[in-house]
């Protein structure tokens, strides 16, 4: 009886572990998507409409903080400056802001 139980636990635990890990990853992605949507809404309002400012959010993990990446095409870097104050207010604690800046910023 005990051997059957141990066998069952050993055979089922990888699948359960995988499901739990996937659930955790989905939860992190959902949190990052919410942060991204919030920052995007703020930036759109600050820039008075849709712009070429690209916003990308990565959720924090155990070994690195979350990241909100801001980037623009070359020549459009001032957009980051115009939206920065709003972005700074909306990015939650535990996230760092990564800005890709070129020579025209």
């Amino acid at each position: 009886m005990l051997r059957d139980l141990v066998g069952l636990v050993i055979s089922v635990s990888p699948i359960l572990g995988l499901l739990l890990w996937r659930e955790q990853a989905d939860r992190r992605q959902r949190a990052a998507a919410i942060v991204r949507a919030d920052v995007h809404a703020g930036a759109t309002r600050a820039l008075e409409g849709e712009s070429l400012l690209a916003i990308n959010a990565h959720a924090p993990t155990a070994w690195r903080p979350g990241r909100v990446r801001l980037s623009t095409p070359t020549g459009y870097e001032p957009l980051i400056g115009r939206a920065f104050q709003t972005v700074l207010e909306r990015v939650p604690a535990g996230y760092e802001i990564v800005i890709h800046c070129g020579g025209n910023s």
Partner: protein
């Protein structure tokens, strides 16, 4: 100018910091912050000649490096006269000194420059970020220069605007 912005320059990031200075000032302008450009270096060893005679002791080397860094960063920052920029140079273990500087200056935003390609420098940067992230009320900002693609030139690539060598014969 109420908010404070601390820009951390560690060894190996000098060129990136100088090239990203425009972006840094743009952010300071947007956040209405005053900027402190802080250059962190290990303690330099005393300089000796080939007969082991002392040419410059550690203090003199520190003064030389500090003067050079202050002049380089200061002259680069002097272009932007609408943002208050000050330059400081700190010697010691960079990670520890950065944490001390952040504690003393109490900045709202800490700017780090990310230019590291090798694994060891990346690991050091990661450890520094983790240490700085513990401070409440402080935001970490990473400035990454955008790599610019060099124009591809070679025998296999034909310029798009160059006409073909021989035009096809027109059929009458």
């Amino acid at each position: 100018m109420s908010a404070r912005l601390l820009a951390v320059i560690t060894p190996g990031e000098e060129a990136t910091a100088l090239s990203s200075l425009t972006g840094l000032v743009m952010i300071a302008r947007a956040a209405q912050a005053e900027v402190r450009l802080a250059y962190f270096r290990d303690l330099p060893p005393a300089r000796v000649d080939r007969h082991d005679r002392l040419v410059a002791d550690t203090d003199a080397e520190m003064a030389r490096i500090a003067a050079a860094a202050t002049q380089t960063l200061g002259s680069a920052a002097r272009v932007f006269d609408d943002v208050a920029v000050e330059t400081v140079v700190r010697f010691g273990r960079p990670r520890r000194e950065v944490a001390l500087e952040a504690e003393a200056y109490q900045p709202r935003i800490i700017v780090l420059f990310s230019a590291a390609r090798d694994l060891l420098t990346r690991l050091r940067g990661w450890a520094l970020r983790r240490r700085l992230a513990r401070q409440p009320e402080t935001r970490i900002l990473v400035l990454q220069p955008t790599p610019r693609a060099a124009p591809r030139r070679g025998p296999g690539v034909e310029p798009a605007l160059t006409p073909p060598a021989r035009l096809p014969a027109r059929r009458e």
